[in-house]
């Protein structure tokens, strides 16, 4: 177990170095000269240009430049955003809780809806409910999330008036609760501020449903397949023949075994969601890492774009590491040679 964890840790460290290599290459791919970019194309005297190049290390050979870059990244230096004028990592860290809160809300919603439906589909295999769910899953997998977000804004916001306008994490005029976790729903509760809590929850509904939509189909499919596999096993027959009710066999035994791979897949999906939710944040003006990233793209703030890419990739790698290690703990059958 311990050697396995250590080996995975080393692998992730190597991966992070690899990620930095890719992002360094991306930095070099940015069109135009960095000095010209810095001055917005204004003419610069040769002396200043020389000095800037030396200061930024652009006069060094590429491998040296990369090592400098890697050193900076490891110390948390992702450069300064041209748009906000602040260190990029500070900007990202400040916005990270918003992204995590939305992602977790979406995942929670997907599980709450998807798990019962997955069981239902498996128990009524090839029945009308199963077919209906299959068609629904299929269509939901074909939906662009940014489009679904717009449809929700129109139907539930504009037409029905159920959701507040998409203007971020709190309705206008509601003060931000004191920062403890950075999750507005949690912080407002901790502060006993029910007005802020209700507003935070209401603002999160539509974006969370959008996030959940892409995941529900995955949950249903995985759990259905897992349940069907378990239901065909001997222990289920044994349980039934010794007189256990179907309910006890299905929910106490089969579901518990079937749920592990589903949860694994969902956990890995969280990493993908951090990337995919960029568009959802853009649609709902949700001030997370994704919206920051989109704004940076529009402002041609390449350092910020690549910095956000790097941060999300590293978090993605860490999530996968966590999932692997957790799985090794949970499932004693898995042996890692």
């Amino acid at each position: 177990m311990i050697p396995y964890v250590l080996r995975r840790l080393v692998a992730v460290a190597v991966l992070v170095v690899g990620i930095s290599l890719v992002t360094f290459a991306l930095v070099r791919m940015v069109p135009g000269d960095p000095v010209a970019l810095y001055y917005g194309g204004m003419p610069v005297s040769a002396d200043i240009e020389q000095a800037l190049r030396r200061q930024w290390g652009l006069d060094q050979p590429l491998p040296v430049q990369y090592l400098r870059y890697l050193g900076g990244v490891l110390r948390g230096n992702l450069g300064v955003s041209l748009a906000t004028g602040r260190p990029i990592l500070d900007d990202l860290v400040r916005r990270f809780p918003a992204t995590v809160e939305l992602t977790l809300a979406g995942v929670l919603l997907a599980l709450v809806v998807g798990l019962p439906l997955g069981v239902l589909a498996a128990l009524h295999r090839n029945g009308p409910v199963d077919h209906l769910l299959r068609i629904g899953s299929l269509v939901s997998l074909g939906m662009p999330n940014f489009w679904l977000g717009l449809v929700l804004i129109f139907v539930f916001g504009y037409q029905l008036g159920w959701f507040p306008p998409a203007e971020g994490r709190l309705a206008a005029g509601v003060p931000i609760p004191g920062r403890v976790t950075g999750f507005y729903t949690v912080d407002s509760l901790l502060a006993g501020n029910l007005v802020a809590f209700r507003s935070a929850l209401a603002q999160m509904m539509a974006p969370a449903i959008t996030v959940a939509m892409g995941l529900v189909a995955v949950v249903i499919r995985m759990l259905r397949a897992g349940m069907l596999e378990e239901l065909g096993k001997d222990y289920v027959r044994t349980g039934r023949s010794k007189g256990l009710t179907p309910r006890a066999v299905y929910y106490k035994h089969a579901l518990r075994n079937a749920i592990i791979p589903t949860i694994t897949v969902v956990s890995i999906q969280i990493g993908y969601l951090l990337g995919g939710n960029v568009l959802v944040e853009a649609v709902f003006a949700w001030p997370g890492v994704g919206l920051y990233y989109i704004n940076a793209i529009n402002a041609l703030d390449y350092n910020a774009v690549i910095g956000a890419t790097l941060l999300i990739a590293v978090v993605f790698a860490l999530i996968n590491l966590g999932v692997d290690i957790l799985n090794a703990f949970i499932d004693p059958r898995i042996h890692y040679a």
């Binding site: 069109p31 299929l138 997998l141 939906m143 449809v151 390449y302 999300i312």
Partner: protein
């Protein structure tokens, strides 16, 4: 079963193994319908997809404008039809590029093993280290917003998937008796790879490619939506959704909803087709 299949000539074996199913038929029909719309767009609509008609803007769907008109007075139905050209083109080009680069890389790694394997597959791992939508957007941003760069970005993101499948399938095929027989007869590497291994690994690549079409369309539409893909006034569906975005909030839903429905239909069509092909081609799933 296996020995019997080996005894019959290849075309017959292939025909016998191919089984039609409903996913295949429905998915194929949807995709064909979209191809039809793309090819015959000028015959299917009297309107122009680009020309402005400011006086006729913001018309709700009616018998004259089935999908209404957008903020420039352009017929949305017409733009959706012409949009099929762009989204199909993006999907086909990006998948062909990704599979065309990824498959040989995976084959080389799986065939030669050793350092070739290590170098190629570790680079592929790096591509997979980024959430794919994010990598596609960052690449497109760095390359500069245009339709060509969007296709290139989406293709690069797809390479690793094909490499992995080709890698696994090549390793499996390399141990087959007929490959060893060909090797024993002195067939050079390139002939082994092209005539013995490639045909054997084609089915999973084709299945992946079909399923990848849907995914590629979603990715490219996402790029179009944030302005990194096709540029206005190109009637690409993602870009159209973006153009109609501010209208949706004002209740003019049709400018964004219809291109989105077109995306859902085409992606679902490709997903069905891919699932159907897998069931039809892969004997293990039957």
């Amino acid at each position: 079963m296996r020995s019997e299949a080996a005894a019959v000539p290849v075309p017959l074996a292939a025909r016998r193994r191919f089984k039609w199913n409903s996913s295949l038929v429905i998915g194929g029909a949807i995709v064909l319908l979209m191809v039809f719309a793309a090819v015959f767009a000028p015959l299917l609509t009297p309107y122009d997809p680009i020309k402005l008609d400011i006086r006729g803007r913001f018309q709700a769907p009616s018998t004259i404008h089935w999908f209404g008109t957008d903020q420039y007075g352009r017929d949305v139905f017409t733009r959706v039809l012409y949009g099929a050209r762009y989204d199909l083109l993006i999907a086909v080009l990006a998948v062909a590029l990704a599979a065309g680069v990824g498959t040989p890389l995976g084959m080389l790694a799986g065939y030669f093993r050793g350092w070739t394997d290590v170098v190629i597959m570790r680079v592929m791992d790096l591509l997979l280290a980024f959430p794919n939508i994010l990598l596609a957007m960052t690449l497109a941003a760095v390359l500069g917003p245009s339709l060509n760069n969007a296709i290139l970005a989406v293709a690069i993101v797809g390479i690793a998937g094909y490499a992995r499948i080709a890698y696994g399938a090549t390793m499996a095929a390399s141990t087959e008796v007929y490959v060893e027989a060909a090797r024993a007869l002195g067939a050079p590497h390139h002939r082994l790879l092209l005539t013995a291994i490639l045909p054997a690994i084609l089915a999973p690549i084709v299945i992946r490619g079909t399923l990848g079409m849907g995914f590629t369309i979603l990715l490219a539409a996402g790029l179009g939506f944030i302005g990194l893909g096709a540029q206005p006034p190109t009637p690409e569906w993602g870009a159209m959704i973006n153009e109609g975005r501010n209208q949706v909030i004002l209740g003019r839903w049709w400018t964004s909803v219809f291109p989105g429905l077109a995306i859902v239909s085409l992606v679902t069509g490709f997903n069905l087709l891919g699932d159907g092909l897998r069931d039809a081609l892969d004997p293990r799933t039957r």
